[in-house]
Amino acid sequence: MKKGAEGTRAPDGAAGPPVRRGRGLPLPRGGVARLGLMALPVAFFAVFFAYPVAAIVARGLKVDGAWRFGRIADVLGQSDIQHVLWFTTWQALASTGLTLLLALPGAYVFARFDFRGKQVLRAVVTVPFVLPTVVVGTAFLALIGRGGLVDELWGVRLDTTVWAILLAHVFFNYAVVVRTVGGLWAQLDPRQEEAARVLGASRARAWRTVTLPALGPAVAAAALMVFLFTFTSFGIVQILGGPTYATLEVEIYRQTANLFDLATAAVLTLVQFAAVGVVLAVHAWTVRRRESTLRLVDAATTARRPRGAGQRGLLGFVLLTVAALIVLPLGVLVQRSLDTPEGYGFAYYEQLTSTDGGAFLVPPIDAIWNSLQYAVVATAIALVVGGLAATALTRRAGRLVRGFDALLMLPLGVSAVTVGFGFLIALDEPPLDLRASWFLVPLAQALVGVPFVIRTMLPVLRAVDGRLREAAAVLGASPLRAWREVDLPLVRRALLVAAGFAFAVSLGEFGATVFIARPDNPTLPVAVATLFGRPGDLNYGQAMALSTILMVVCAVSLLLLERVRTDRTTGEF
């Protein structure tokens, strides 16, 4: 046995022998404790995720108590459905490729360069990711749509082309690549590359043989996440796609809400489920590879000021990309919300307080208050469920737990529309008659928040050295006390960050909420989408104004997070 192995191997219950005696167990050995922690998350997912989705699928595919799987072939045989499948796939691939192309230089710059305003810029590029997709769509419409900024300046409109969707996807996912890849890149020990240089490798060769293989899994993981998000894209495509372009998710919505063709919707849900399952399985595999092998150093020690024309040029390119792709759309959104027919002013914002528009039963401004309340409750649910799940997953263990890990990621990819509609038709009978309850909305939102909570907390929880807990135990702390004294202080920041993500995601949730939010209690994204669906300058302006408010709320919560975020808490998003 290697030196030190006797000390580290022992606490891992999985490596030890089966316990022969029932007594004398000083620490809980996985099993029971872990099952206990997992009980609530499992129940939560069973009742509020698996059950509604299954109910929808059953409603679509079961006729008079008999499954009609033949319908799957029928639906998939339709040429317009095939067209949707093809478009969904290729736009996701194209979006992923484009995002990597534009964001990888950004990842490098954020990882290895030190420059003024880096912290602010890091926050700025993350803002789009926490923005509601509806707002993203709105912002791009304002930039490159009919009557948009580019249209006014040069008469160019991109909203009828697929470019609008692709660029919006890049905008949305830029941060995923910068954070996932850049986070790791910053922690790679530059001395590894130096060692290769000393052994005779050229600069390029050293990068190719040392850094690239180390980054590979992170790039793959980021690419898969981007693919997942764009494959299931709803809000962005709903707004920018027009009648021409529809992803699976948009088609599911159309089939469910407009055509009431539940059979087709169920088949499409299953197709999306299968595709997402594959993507998540590959993702889990790359994550595991990433965890295993690398020697990491403090990110603060690897960055230095850019030198020479090449490095300054690269920095310039990245700053330009960020300005054109991220800052500009956000800026145009704000500008449009202030640009009234009577000149610049707050007229649209003022209109939000009245019911004159007629789009809702309540003034649109009420949506803000609704959204905040819902998001707070959703965040609380997500923290409890995700926190428990992350704690249960902390100990690296067998296939069962890893499977659970992947399972908890599913809500990121399974059709939110299906979940929302599933809520309506599944949770409508006692003992779970929640159809009329306000609680339904935060429940659906929490479902999307949980994966973020888990992904943020898991790396931090795993980073806590188990021997610190042992040190506390030897000094007289009970297991619970040891957790409170050792884990909690280290995890507190991660908990805050996770809460922030869950809050932002809940605030922006659209696909499920659009079904279950009641007309007298719309959320912000639903209100924006409704306003957009109506003609006229006033509605357009109000949509812009509401989007701006939503953006500011998200951006502010994110900026607050950046203050508490440390490098240790850099999760996977």
Binding site: G7, P26, E470, A473, V474, G476
Partner: protein
């Protein structure tokens, strides 16, 4: 054979292990270990990496469940007693200071767990920091401490709750030599002054001999030898212990009537050695160099300066495949490499090893 029950003063040993066994899979990391530590005794477990030393400490601390055997503290069986109720102290190999707390927060941790009043905590912390040579360090961040300082804080933290048994895992492992030598002397004085019962483990014989009242040598989960540092040093029980202590002049011998026949020629053996085959250790000090035509003819193949003496490596020239020898010579009279010398053996430096434990 491996049982070691020292003369314990009082009602019985403070710590007693009977047949303590821990298995990782099929491998026994602790293999039926019997060990007793008397109150106020300083016992040092010495052994190479992977000999089960750390597991021994973890088992006593309650961090590792036994697969068989029992552990008793002050006569009470510890089975089922969780780590936090055993009242023992453990200083971890890499300290495991709590990074989010300052020095005072670390040292006071055990006191807080025992609900000691705040004022008393502060007093005790100050007292301990004085004791370990870090007065006034209460507010310092542990990340800002040097290795030696962390060591001292870890020690203060382990001592603070006045554990009935203090266990140290490679206590001085990561320190540089001069600091180590100073600390080992300080620690011994400190423990004697406080009357602390100590069970330490280390792979460094110098550390073990300097610190311990009694040294226990472990090999592959079993106890190979136990005794005072002097006993172990002078009379290694078997070839494993001898080689672990750095003695390599080990040879097969056949004893007949007070002397032994070896490939190095005739070697005198201590009185009372039974006739028959055995393994003999000749400590380097017992390899005496004489004139080239006297005794075993050797050629000098190398010299290593060891501070107090010079280690001279010798290659016997006559015998076929006779193993090399090491001799300890004075600083002035060590021969040059290439020189031809004769070797005689001094009986007082010759040890008959227990059979059956070749390394």
């Amino acid at each position: 054979m491996t049982a070691t029950a020292p003369a314990a003063s009082g009602p019985g040993p403070l710590l007693r292990l009977d047949g303590a066994t821990v298995r990782f899979g099929a491998r026994a990391v602790l293999d039926a270990v019997d060990l007793a530590v008397a109150e106020h005794e300083i016992v040092c477990v010495l052994g190479p990496s992977g000999s089960g030393k750390s597991t021994l400490l973890r088992a006593v601390a309650g961090l590792q469940a036994l697969d068989a055997g029992r552990i008793a503290l002050a006569g009470h069986d510890q089975a089922g007693v969780p780590a936090h109720r055993r009242g023992v102290g453990l200083m971890f190999q890499d300290h495991q200071l709590f990074p989010q707390r300052d020095v005072a927060g670390n040292v006071a941790f055990g006191l807080r767990m025992r609900k000691v009043p705040r004022a008393e905590q502060a007093l005790r912390v100050a007292e301990l920091l004085d004791l370990v040579g870090l007065p006034g360090a209460q507010k310092r961040a542990v990340s800002a401490l040097s290795g030696g300082e962390q060591q001292r804080v870890a020690l203060a933290r382990a001592l603070a709750p006045r554990p009935r048994l203090l266990m140290l895992d490679e206590p001085l492992g990561q320190l540089d030599r001069s600091l180590r030598e100073r600390l080992v002397a300080e620690l011994r004085e400190l423990f004697q002054e406080l009357g602390t019962t100590v069970l330490a483990v280390t792979h460094d014989q110098g550390e073990a001999f300097a610190l311990a009242d009694r040294v226990v040598v472990m090999r592959e989960g079993r106890i190979a030898q136990s005794g005072t540092p002097l006993e172990v040093w002078r009379r290694p029980a078997d070839e494993f212990v001898a080689r672990f202590l750095g003695f390599d002049n080990v040879v097969d011998a056949t004893v007949t009537g007070g002397s032994a026949e070896t490939v190095w020629g005739k070697v005198p053996v201590p009185q009372g050695t039974a006739d028959g085959r055995c393994r003999l250790l000749v400590r380097p000090a017992g390899v005496r160099l004489t004139g080239a035509d006297d005794g075993l003819a050797c050629v000098v193949t190398g010299r290593t300066f060891r501070g107090t003496h010079v280690a001279v490596r010798l290659e016997p020239t006559g015998g076929e495949g006779a193993p090399r020898l090491e001799a300890a010579c004075g600083l002035r009279d060590a021969p040059e490499p290439g020189a031809r010398v004769g070797v005689r053996f001094a009986v007082e430096e010759i040890v008959v090893l227990r059979p059956g434990a070749a390394s």
